[in-house]
């Protein structure tokens, strides 16, 4: 198999911390070769060139010269995803777009339409679906789940913002259309939609008072299953997903790719364990799950097979986020004085 040329678009923190090490592993394995690094900021390109010293850098996609069959990884800030994806597709490249796949679902639809019209792959980077624990939870939530029907769930994810953002783009409304819901919530929603399908009803509240939310709460109903999601960039949450089934409970720690805890009804103790394959082999770790996602997309390009999370699947979480924002209510912040609360309500509605 000829190594697939990769164009990495966006050389910020996600590329440095995730894509660069994963690409290097798969490059050494002969599956792909990094052909170009694209970022308007020279210093950002140079940081990535420490991983790939002989790979040319470019300020824009237009300056990149690569063969026609190629995979572009779009890892820039979300406001550029649509424009860069459309440009890559127009050049005949396949695309793996980092989450959220676009700034709006309308942009995402454009991207999907362009990929389908060109017959090219548009994959979305929801790598948490590649966690063995995510697969196990899907099994538990499914109709054959051994713990019975899911009665309720409670998800708490996030903490003080520590992502090594190289620019303040995360906090500029012009650059990023949402706060913690868009950033962390897109993963949570992607998993929930994968496990449980579309919700029948939901309500949403956050602490936007003219800017971007740092705290968000979502209540959802899937049939008779009710659940709540707490997201924060402000304060450390428990970082736990808790599920209450008919015959027991399961819980998962955020980003623990191969660990789960379970309590069976009537059992004297809870179980906490590491997942293994049925043949006893170790299940993938978090970095290995990220690598697995890349392997999966590259193999799909080589074999012309469908990807697990294509554009149509990826846009679902984005649509739910937009629906939440459309129903936005101000979170009750009980330490505010009545005067502050009154202004906060005004700012929430009319920034």
């Amino acid at each position: 198999m000829t190594p697939l040329p990769i164009v990495l678009v966006g050389c910020g923190a996600v590329s440095q911390l995730f894509y660069a090490p994963a690409l290097r592993v798969l490059e050494a394995d002969g599956l792909l070769r990094v052909a170009a690094l694209v970022d308007p900021v020279e210093a950002a390109r140079e940081r990535l060139q420490q991983f790939f010293p002989h790979v040319p850098g470019a300020a824009t996609l237009a300056q990149v010269d690569t063969p026609r069959v190629c995979l572009a990884i779009i890892a820039s800030p979300p406001r550029w995803h649509a424009e860069q994806t459309l440009a890559a597709l127009a050049r005949g490249w396949h695309v793996l777009c980092e989450k959220p796949m676009a700034a709006t679902s309308a942009e995402a639809e454009q991207m999907i339409g362009a990929a389908e019209a060109a017959g090219q792959i548009l994959a979305v980077g929801h790598y948490k679906r590649f966690f063995p624990s995510s697969h196990y939870l899907k099994f538990l939530c499914g109709p054959a789940g051994p713990l019975g029907a899911l009665k309720s769930f409670s998800i708490a994810e996030g903490g003080p913002f520590t992502w090594p953002a190289t620019s303040p783009a995360f906090f500029k409304k012009k650059e990023t259309p949402g706060g913690v819901l868009l950033d962390i919530g897109v993963h949570v929603f992607d998993l929930l939609l994968w496990w449980l399908g579309d919700p029948d009803d939901f309500s949403y509240a956050d602490d936007v008072m003219g800017g971007l939310e740092a705290n968000a709460r979502v209540s959802l109903r899937f049939g008779s299953t009710r659940g709540r999601v707490q997201l924060s960039r402000d304060w450390a949450t428990t970082q736990r997903y808790e599920f209450e089934f008919e015959h027991g409970d399961a819980s998962w720690t955020v980003n623990d790719a191969n660990g789960l805890s379970m309590t069976l009804d009537g059992a004297p103790f809870a179980l906490q364990g590491t997942l293994r394959g049925t043949d006893g082999t170790a299940a993938a770790t978090n970095p290995q799950s990220f690598i697995a996602q890349l392997q999966h997309v590259v193999t799909a390009v080589h074999n012309r097979t469908p990807v697990l999370i294509g554009g149509r699947e990826g846009v679902r979480a984005l649509r739910l986020i937009e629906a939440c924002y459309a129903r936005r209510q101000l979170l009750n912040q009980p330490w505010f004085s009545p005067a502050e609360l009154s202004t906060a309500c005004l700012r929430a509605v009319n920034p």
């Binding site: 953002a165 620019s167 906090f171 706060g179 003219g210 800017g211 912040q333 330490w335 505010f336 005067a339």
Partner: protein
């Protein structure tokens, strides 16, 4: 007034932004050290800026166009000492005249002598490095104000609590884990200050007349003992205050070898010598330091399950020995400071925040 808030992402800075902005008191310019600290200020449509509190050009650029500045930045002792000179030089360069600097009641120690007031001479012989750093920092602040002809107000709050305060979160955690403790039944005085009351003192400092510049102790209106503080938090969390450990004495705290070495490294001599020290010598010094640090003893496998033990810290041990309520009289007289929120309401709001943060509301 356009007010820059340095350290706008911290627990006090966050509340300052909320009250000033939502209360319509001032136009707020939050200043933070790095982009990742913008999560809370960015909830509002504000002209936030990135500025390094340890770098004059960076900070003065962040203060451009402001009428006053509040300094609420945190740091380690070395940073605490270095920040005031930078603050004053940056303010002067940006043309900002009025500065409110958050000093600390700990300049008088955690357990100040009875009759301590703002006039009590300060010293740098406290047991904790933090206190000594705050003393040196406050002195540097007033030196800087004099040098640059600035109007400097240094506030000395005690135990500042409220939403996002460690005095609430740590206490709640200790109570839940049965690790909270009280010395002498908690009869010591907790010089509490609800964060909203501190903001009120800051607001008064911003508008006070120039000749009122100086240092001010600020506290809540009530005299609160540590027992009362713990009791009300415990009760609100559904925990019986009788389960709090009661101690008749606290151990003497000695610095470990590792702490002594870290202190030496962080000190002026260490910071002067380290950059010119050959790498090989540094490695040898680290190895030597490692041999001086006793290995952690392996616990005996044959023992009963551990019962929760009190979480003893030197700071809390000293604080609980306090027998003097620091007076806010001078702030009341010269700044017209009056605590706006009473202690009961303050605790209720703080615990309501805790429930919010824990997703219980």
């Amino acid at each position: 007034m356009i007010v820059a808030i340095i350290g706008a992402n911290g627990f006090i800075g966050t509340r300052l932004v909320e009250i000033f902005h939502l209360g319509g008191l001032h136009t707020v310019v939050p200043v933070v050290r790095r982009a990742s600290s913008l999560a809370l200020p960015a909830r509002f449509a504000l002209d936030w800026r990135i500025g390094d509190a340890l770098d004059v050009p960076s900070l003065s650029a962040a203060l451009a166009g402001c009428n006053a500045v509040v300094h609420a930045s945190l740091g380690d002792p070395r940073q605490i000492e270095a920040m005031p000179a930078v603050l004053c030089a940056a303010a002067a360069a940006a043309g900002v005249k009025r500065i409110v600097y958050l000093s600390s009641a700990s300049v008088h120690g955690q357990a100040p002598e009875p009759d301590t007031t703002e006039d009590t001479p300060l010293h740098c012989h406290h047991a904790m490095d933090y206190n000594n750093a705050k003393v040196r920092a406050e002195r540097a602040f007033f030196r800087g104000c004099a040098q640059h002809e600035l109007e400097g107000f240094a506030l000395r709050p005690g135990i500042v609590f409220g939403p996002r305060s460690r005095w609430i979160t740590d206490l709640a955690a200790d109570l839940r884990q049965r690790r909270a403790w009280l010395l002498n039944d908690g009869s010591g005085i907790c010089n509490s200050l609800y964060v909203d009351n501190l903001v009120e003192a800051i607001a008064q400092s911003l508008t006070a007349r120039s000749h009122a510049a100086g240092a001010y102790l600020v506290g809540d209106g009530e005299r609160i003992t540590w027992f009362e503080f713990y009791r009300i938090v415990a009760t609100s969390l559904g925990i019986d205050p009788a389960t709090i450990h009661r101690l008749a004495s606290v151990p003497v705290f000695h610095r470990t070898t590792q702490e002594r070495i870290s202190r030496l490294v962080a000190g002026r001599v260490g910071q002067t010598v380290l950059p010119v020290m050959p790498a090989r010598l540094k490695t040898m010094a680290k190895r030597l330091a490692a041999t001086l640090t006793p290995a952690f003893p392996t616990p005996d496998r044959w023992r009963l399950s551990d019962a929760p033990q009190p979480r003893l810290t030197q700071e809390l041990a000293l604080l609980q020995q306090c027998l003097w309520q620091l007076p806010s009289d001078r702030a009341m007289q010269r700044l017209d400071y009056h605590p706006l929120v009473n202690f009961t309401t303050a605790i209720q709001r703080s615990l309501a925040w805790l429930a919010f943060a824990e997703g219980r509301t």
